[in-house]
Amino acid sequence: MKLITAIIREVQLDKVREALIEAEITRITVSRVSGHGQQKLEEMYRGQIIVPDLIPKIKIEIAVNEAFVDITVDTILKSARTGGHEGKVGDGKIFITPLEECIRIRTGERGGTAI
């Protein structure tokens, strides 16, 4: 089991989510986060161009069984890229970490079937 964590652009959320649903990956957790990456976001604020410290992003967390890792990653790669297929600085990152255990609260089931 793996935990896939993707940091993506806010504006891409709908696209990524819809692509994941199409790929039948429906169990996801989404949160609004902010941070530093390579990207510098210039914003217009009261008539001046400013660069805010922290750039708002969306974090998607998906726990998957091994068989679904690749399709999940591919789907996110395809849907989270902006500027055609080239991609742009600021499109985000995907982290994959081993997942030790997964327990469904309702039934107490453990492991791959609980995902």
């Binding site: 806010e10 504006v11 709908d14 708002p56």
Partner: protein, 443 residues
């Protein structure tokens, strides 16, 4: 409102530059009581526009909150300017082009009313500004029908053109002393404060626009949740308060008819709200805050044309019936699946039509007696209902047709509907480059 209009426009006189003080050249005196109330009403009606901005703003998703609020606010800019330049003249000038709209060179830029005091005892500036607020809120109401999916630029052009070609002529027909609906039947079509002019026209235009532009991305399968129902409730509250200016101010006086309109307004809003949550509880099991707010609006919309002619019991029944009918209209919308996003048609269109027709059955007896006398014999409820039906049909057909033409032509020049990327990113980011909130919600 009727009582004063006939004299309103007959008195325009260009005044000599030397006139001073409260007295106009023809010796009319300012009635300070009436003027004070009309000034207050003018401010109250303006307050409804931020109220509407909050009501609509709270109902959309986080990414569209500022764009939606701007739909109301930008109307305060655009329509105020247009109203001063030509709106007042088109609405309250004398018939031109066979009565399509009015025109009076003195009203152009309001340049000829600098010293004018009306027969009602209020400076004409006050009256023109009071009416201007109605002109602002009407196009802003339409925005609810196509919320979350139109470009800001096209919206600005749309409300400007719509105001000139739809609002001003309708306002002229119904409220100007030589308007043909004002003079229809014994005592005219009854539209005290804007059932046909404001709510039916805005609601129907909204429906046409929503159908023409198509629905939002993902509607109706994807859940589209309001971002902030607290703001929505505050907006509904402001609308209720502002409506006292809207209705009671439409008496253009400070007296008995003002009081009658005030009471009808309060009663209809309250019964509308209660009726809605009762229906909702019976139908779906819970009384929602949004339901209460919708009921307030349904009641207020229905009593708008009626406030001058119904007594409290009539207002109560109107409010209740309006909530029932609007509730059903929204169920029907959900079945049909068209995207009148914030129910501009479901509440304003349907509520306005219901109020304008049903009010006929609750007209106070003294009004009917005067109507009979004016008709030279008898004037029945059914006679008046006929007039109301004609006025409502004219408002529906005219605003639907004109809106269709305006959107069709405008769309050739400026793209009206947001493209997919803009819609996904949200109006705030796409057209204003801003965010409504800090980091609160994800949708």
């Amino acid at each position: 409102m009727k009582y004063k209009w006939k004299i309103v426009l007959t008195m325009l006189v260009l005044l000599s530059a030397g006139t001073t003080g409260l007295y106009a050249s023809d010796g009319k005196v300012v009635d300070s009581g009436a003027t004070a109330w009309m000034l207050t009403s003018t401010a109250l009606v303006l307050l409804m526009i931020p109220g509407l901005a909050m009501f609509y703003g709270g109902l959309v998703r986080t990414k569209n909150v500022l764009g939606t609020i701007m739909h109301s606010f930008v109307a305060m800019g655009i329509i105020s300017v247009l109203w001063v330049i030509l709106g007042y003249s088109m609405s309250f000038g004398s018939n031109v082009l066979g009565g399509w709209f009015g025109w009076n060179p003195d009203y152009f830029f309001l340049k000829g009313i600098d010293d004018t005091i009306m027969d009602a005892g209020i400076p004409e500036y006050v009256f023109s500004m009071f009416q201007g607020k109605f002109a602002i809120i009407t196009p802003a109401l339409i925005a609810g029908a196509f919320a979350e999916r139109v470009t800001f630029k096209a919206y600005c052009f749309f409300i400007a053109i719509w105001s000139i070609l739809v609002y001003n002529p309708l306002c002229h027909w119904v409220w100007a002393s030589d308007g043909f609906l004002f003079n229809m039947g014994a005592r005219g079509a009854i539209d005290f404060a804007g059932g046909t002019v404001v709510h039916i026209s805005a609601g129907v235009s909204g429906l046409v626009a929503a159908l023409y532009l198509g629905s939002r991305r993902g509607y109706p399968y994807q859940v589209i949740r309001p971002n902030n129902l607290v703001i929505m409730m505050l907006g509904a509250g402001l609308l209720w308060v502002g409506w006292f200016g809207f209705n009671a101010g439409s008496s253009i006086s400070s007296g008995l008819s003002t009081a009658q309109a005030l009471v009808a307004t309060q009663v209809a809003a309250a019964t509308g709200a209660l009726a809605w949550i009762i229906i909702e509880s019976l139908h779906q099991g819970k009384a929602t805050a949004l339901g209460f707010a919708s009921g307030i609006l349904a009641g207020l919309v229905a009593v708008t044309p009626a406030a001058g002619v119904v007594q409290p019991y009539g207002a109560m029944i109107l409010g209740m019936l309006a909530s029932m009918i609007c509730y059903m209209a929204i169920q029907v919308k959900n079945r049909l699946g068209y995207d009148d996003s914030l129910d501009a048609f479901g509440i304003h269109g349907v509520g306005g039509i219901s109020g304008a027709l049903l009010l006929t059955f609750f007209i106070r007896p003294s009004w009917m007696q005067e109507a009979s006398a004016a008709a030279g014999g008898s004037w029945t409820v059914w006679n008046q209902l006929g007039i109301q039906v004609i006025a409502v049909l004219i408002a529906i057909v005219y605003s639907a047709l004109m809106t269709l033409i305006i959107i069709y032509l405008l769309n050739k020049v400026v793209r009206f509907k947001s493209n997919e990327d803009e819609e996904m990113a949200g109006l705030d980011r796409s057209y204003h480059g801003e965010r409504g909130y800090g980091m609160l919600n994800t949708d």
